[in-house]
Symmetry: C2
Subunit: 399 residues, 2 copies
């Protein structure tokens, strides 16, 4: 950052959400956030889902402060502090190595962050949030290189949001976690016809949080231990290979099996954890029956720690599959605003297909669909009008 | 059977239902019905749940025939044929060894069987049914000794219904299955204060049958394989020990964990199998919150291949727990006929307990409760008026 100016130095960045196709569930180190197995995800496109963060640095600020979605939050949270500390440590190292532009190290920061999707959507926002925080702080303090190990210390899966496309989080083996980092398997341009639909399910109950959920699972599930040690290593290789070859059926089946195994591990936890609602189960049945009808795997589902389904399919199957979803989960209104994001063309459902799926429709089971695709990693927002903090370093009034 | 009489020889027996606390799921041999792991069950009392079967043998019968719950069924089903063949083989062996009373071997049989509980209750009736069939045929043909290996060939879990109390089904290791038999761990008199409540859940959809379900699980679930090989052997020892010591918390926790792990294996199956409904999940939450409120494990649940919960608890906790169930699953009418079986005294729920459980009530989620306890194995019904077949060997008109 440029020095010697009473105006705060401002930088804004955006970062994406990611959805794991080989799931992360369980830490071997709670403080450093080191996982019990590697994982692999698809970065979703920021045109549909992103976090935007502005960091302001000024010698006039009295303390580090944080605003999330318009509300000031406690910045002393250990995971936030880990990210701030690690970025400042790297910046200090850079300065000590004789690099310029790493001043402001003793200055306090103001951080302001918003999601372009409602929290109520139940989408894991912490990955995009911490990725964006770390990326923005790194910009502000002039830190370069792989930052996924720092994002990981904010929220495990945040490390995977540091890259676009298809991203692997290597569990690593070192005790200090230095080798537990993310790396890109393939860029988002690799598989352009892949499409992603987020089916936002109506939820009655707030499910148990993933941090405490995975702790209990690690402590009590014998199946999770077996999964981490003996199942995931081979699946990581198979998934990487399926993505490299753009082999949709292989990718899809492995994605569904791994989602199911993650939820099986939750059920094997004591007391058991349920994230799949009756709506989620209906989506699972629907996908399998849809595929069975066509005699090939055209669509896959994946569920994180909540009832929303993430659907993977090929561009050509999107219109019909969206119609199927809309038929078996009749929306509240006329289907208006049911589909957000990338435009979806109309399609007509055959009676044959409806009968092949043959499920009892669940009205309003799905609130809306976000239509998206794989996208790039975090980026700097060059337009200064997009800053979330005004020139005095405080949140803009519009928030 | 006595010979030389044109009147059929009639014998009637009853046999119990059993509920596994270490679950059987998956065969290593489909024809012989040999399991991939040992299992352990509690035999339920026949005063509440039983199958009654009458076998008639007559030289005048032209063919083997079978009536189930008043309807004639196809007796050529391979599993029925296995049981008939094996009993006749043993009877022939007895005769060849010079024993009397094993005549009628060339005669055909008429079999009539009824359950004293509605099929709609979704209780696995095949275990009691095949146990009763084999026990009755053995009586008719004068066969003695352990018959669990024959019952097993009718329906795997039927072998455990051949004994009362607490029963182990040893998986065995022989290819011919001769060592895959049931044996009693403790008689029903061992743990008189143990009580069992069957919570019959309202079900919307008929779940996948256990035969094809377990086939798919064996073929696709890596977690089931691990469970069978590495988890169940130790649990069998722990469960046997918990029963021997009448250690309710140990028994209860293992029962719940094993039920959950069975359902986890179903979810790890591809395509996944769901047996737990939202009602089942609510029962699970309710039990854990109830136990947490008291700071001790007073109640346990177990679920088979369907949404009904089987609750284990101690006699002293039955009245309050039944009230809790009734509160969080308000019955249709005034609670009349909500509780069947062993009488349950009234209890008053404290506001504190209601709040500690703190679930949203699910009206009509549970149809009724069957209150029962551990009971004896199959027995002969000596009263001839109880025969289901009349003296001509055909079903009585009242059926």
């Amino acid at each position: 950052m440029p020095e010697d100016n009473d105006n705060p130095y401002l930088v804004s960045c955006s970062a994406p959400v990611n959805i794991a196709v080989i799931k992360y569930w369980g830490k071997r180190d709670e403080d450093l956030i080191l996982p019990i197995n590697s994982s692999l995800s698809v970065t979703l496109h920021q045109d549909q889902l992103k976090t935007t963060t502005t960091v302001a640095v000024s010698r006039l600020f009295k303390e580090d402060r944080l605003w999330l979605n318009g509300k000031e939050e406690d910045i002393t949270h250990p995971r936030l502090q880990s990210c701030l500390r690690e970025i400042r440590r790297l910046a200090r190292k850079r300065r000590n190595d004789g690099n310029p532009d790493s001043a402001g190290l003793s200055h306090k920061v103001h951080i302001c962050s918003v999601n372009n999707f409602p929290t109520a959507a139940g989408l894991a926002s912490s990955a995009a949030g911490f990725a964006c925080l770390v990326y923005s702080l790194a910009q502000a303090f002039g830190v370069e290189g792989d930052l996924s190990g720092i994002a990981r210390q904010g929220s495990g899966s945040a490390c995977r949001s540091m890259y676009g496309g298809f991203v692997e989080w290597k569990m690593g083996s070192r005790e200090d976690g230095k080798d537990s980092v993310a790396q890109q398997v393939e860029p988002e341009s690799h598989w352009p016809e892949l499409r992603i639909l987020v089916l936002v399910a109506s939820a009655k109950r707030k499910p148990i949080g993933s941090t405490s959920g995975m702790q209990t699972s690690v402590q009590t599930s014998l199946l999770l231990k077996h999964r981490a040690e003996s199942v995931v290593p081979r699946r990581m290789d198979e998934m990487t290979e399926a993505i490299r070859r753009k082999d949709f059926p292989a990718f899809a089946e492995l994605t569904m099996k791994d989602s199911n195994q993650f939820h099986a591990s939750c059920l094997d936890t004591y007391p058991p954890i349920f994230y799949l609602s009756s709506v989620s189960q209906q989506v699972i049945h629907l996908v399998h029956r849809y595929n069975r009808h066509y005699g090939e795997t055209r669509v896959a589902y994946s569920f994180d720690a909540g009832p929303n389904a993430v659907i993977f399919t090929s561009q050509q199957h999107v219109p019909e599959f969206v119609q199927v979803v809309q038929h078996f989960f009749p929306p509240d209104a006329n289907g208006e605003d049911f589909i957000k994001g990338l435009p979806v063309t109309d399609a007509v459902l055959s009676e044959e297909l409806k009968q092949a799926v043959g499920l009892e429709p669940m009205p309003k089971g799905i609130n809306y669909i976000i239509s998206t695709k794989a996208g790039p990693g975090p980026r700097v927002i060059s337009d200064p009008s997009q800053h979330l903090l005004s020139s005095d370093g405080f949140p803009k009034k519009t928030l």
